[in-house]
């Protein structure tokens, strides 16, 4: 029970995530810096959450219901997640600059084609085509905002991302960090029913679209998107109104508070990447099986960091690929487990692994040599020194239920 004791002694449950982030350029004094609180900290405590350090913030890993029930509740009804630790920002072009063209020099996603109110998933890349972060980008709705983009980036990378963007686009655009805002995610099949009671026009949003709403004096920025594979919304609210809005949503009978533990198992079932685990500066979007996030125009035209390397990987195929993995028994394989082919050759490693509450079976994702990446390929995972039979499996592990 060694690790249970470590949890008791206050070492984070999600310690691998926290450790990874401290290894990614955080200064030594930052590791010991006091944890930051989101605007919902008092509410988490009042709800009985177990709090853990994550990306420099005290965050709820689970509430008294526990990860399994929270996970299943989100799949069946609606879950409310505090994701205020993520980085929100507005990028504004200076006069004479096309904001989409400028941002396309940093990401391989097609930004120019975004319609007003449309959101896109893309990646910030380094010169080798490695992923600095994955993020969401929205073109605002209003004509007077067409020189701007709305960005949401990962908590553990926001400091570095924002400096990177400011530096790379110096003289072309100004980045405004929205540190006075909280971010709530409402996810699950009942999310639209619930949100419509409070924001009637929210139901009109199409998947991967967002806009501003003014409700009772609060400016909300609501997008129809998420990180669970379900229909849902991400709701940016002023920090001083965050608790009121969270309580309003939690007062709806379908809604339960959901912690980071279930957020991780939900996104893994949906086949979605967790930065610092499934993707990082050493993986390209092609290796990460994110080719879908690069449009035909951008594949052909390049003009983003590492585009020569990425275009070669598209043409010749990458040497390794991110794949889904289903262990054959009940034992989960965790991050770091080595993957062997049936001849005992090392062909890769697991980057995320958990027990899927929906499937009542373990699931994982990881990287394997491209020649072993075909669905159904039998492999062995080394767990506690012993081979665990598994096979390469398609992702998502559960059907996506995004609203179209």
């Amino acid at each position: 029970m060694n690790r249970a004791k470590r949890q008791v002694l206050g070492i984070p449950v999600l310690d691998e995530a926290a450790l990874h982030q401290t290894g990614q350029g955080f200064m030594a004094d930052t590791i010991d810096a006091p944890l930051r609180y989101t605007p919902l900290h008092a509410l988490h405590l009042a709800l009985g959450a177990k709090m853990v350090p994550f990306a420099g913030y005290a965050m709820p890993v689970n509430y008294p219901a526990g990860i399994l029930k929270e996970h299943l509740h989100t799949r069946e009804q609606a879950g409310l997640f505090d994701v205020s630790h993520m980085g929100q920002a507005i990028l504004s072009a200076l006069p004479g600059i096309d904001i989409a063209a400028a941002f396309e020099t940093l990401v391989p996603g097609a930004i120019a084609e975004l319609n007003p109110g449309q959101m896109r998933y893309t990646t910030l890349l380094n010169a080798q085509g490695g992923i600095l972060d994955d993020l969401m980008v929205t073109r605002p709705v209003r004509p007077e905002h067409q020189h701007q983009l709305f960005l949401v980036v990962n908590a553990g990378r926001k400091t570095e991302d924002f400096v990177h963007i400011e530096t790379a686009l110096a003289g072309k655009a100004i980045l405004t960090r929205m540190e006075d805002r909280a971010l709530l995610a409402l996810q699950g099949p009942a999310a639209v029913t619930v949100l419509t009671r409070l924001v009637p026009e929210a139901a009109m949003l199409a998947f991967m679209h967002g806009r501003r709403f003014h409700i009772g004096g609060d400016e909300l920025i609501i997008h129809r998107c998420g990180y669970t594979g379900e229909d849902g919304f991400e709701i940016s609210v002023p920090a001083n109104a965050a608790e009121v809005w969270a309580k309003r949503l939690l007062a709806e009978p379908e809604v339960a508070p959901i912690g980071l533990g279930a957020r991780d198992s939900l996104r893994l079932e949906a086949g979605l990447c967790l930065y610092g685990h499934d993707i990082d500066e050493t993986t390209t979007p092609i290796e990460a099986n994110l080719l879908w996030s690069i449009s035909k125009r951008r594949r052909e035209g390049g003009g983003f960091p590492g585009s020569t390397i990425i275009q070669a990987q598209i043409k010749d195929g990458p040497k390794r690929l991110r794949v889904g993995i289903r262990p054959d028994g009940r034992a989960p394989a965790r991050e770091g487990a080595e993957i062997l082919d049936l001849n005992g050759n090392a062909i890769g490693h697991v980057t995320s692994g958990t027990f899927s509450p929906t499937l009542n079976a373990p699931i994982a994702m990881g990287y394997v040599n491209a020649s072993s990446a075909t669905d159904g390929t039998p492999v062995n995972l080394i767990v506690r020194g012993k081979p665990l039979a598994a096979h390469i499996a398609p992702m998502p592990f559960i059907p996506k239920r995004f609203h179209r």
Binding site: M1, N2, A4, V8, L68, R330, R334, F355, P357
Partner: protein, 125 residues
């Protein structure tokens, strides 16, 4: 006369003659959360005190279970393999992991009784 002892790693062992039944404490299962998998030892396995003998996994993490005493495994609770949630529901009764024939009963002297363990856990809060 007490016959249940606890380790600082949150295992319990209940004595019946020279055979001990071993599991994890109720406090430990609360800390771990929903248990989804257990790996149990094979009967006949000889093990030293403090050595890793079993594994319990929650949704979020794996945790090793250490032998609270030296001895030989004589039985395992195979019902847990199909119903690991029993550990959450009845950690200190039906959720037992294995039975061990003690090699050296004096090893019990280093363990805590129920009252001492209760105090120990309160000190961790």
């Amino acid at each position: 006369m007490t016959n249940i002892f606890y380790t600082q790693d949150h295992e319990w062992i209940r004595l019946d003659g020279d055979v001990g039944t071993v599991g994890i404490s109720n406090y430990a299962q609360e800390q771990l959360g929903d248990i989804v998998f257990v790996e149990l030892p094979q009967p006949g396995t000889k093990i030293g005190q403090g050595e890793e003998i079993a594994v319990v996994e929650s949704v979020k993490a794996a945790s090793e279970i250490y032998a609270p005493v030296s001895g030989e495994i004589i039985d395992a609770n195979n019902a847990l393999e199909g119903a690991p949630v029993t550990v959450n529901e009845a950690a200190e009764s039906d959720g037992w992991f294995f039975k061990i024939r003690l090699a050296n009963t004096s090893e019990l002297d280093g363990l805590m009784d129920a009252a001492a363990y209760k105090t120990f856990v309160e000190g961790l809060a």
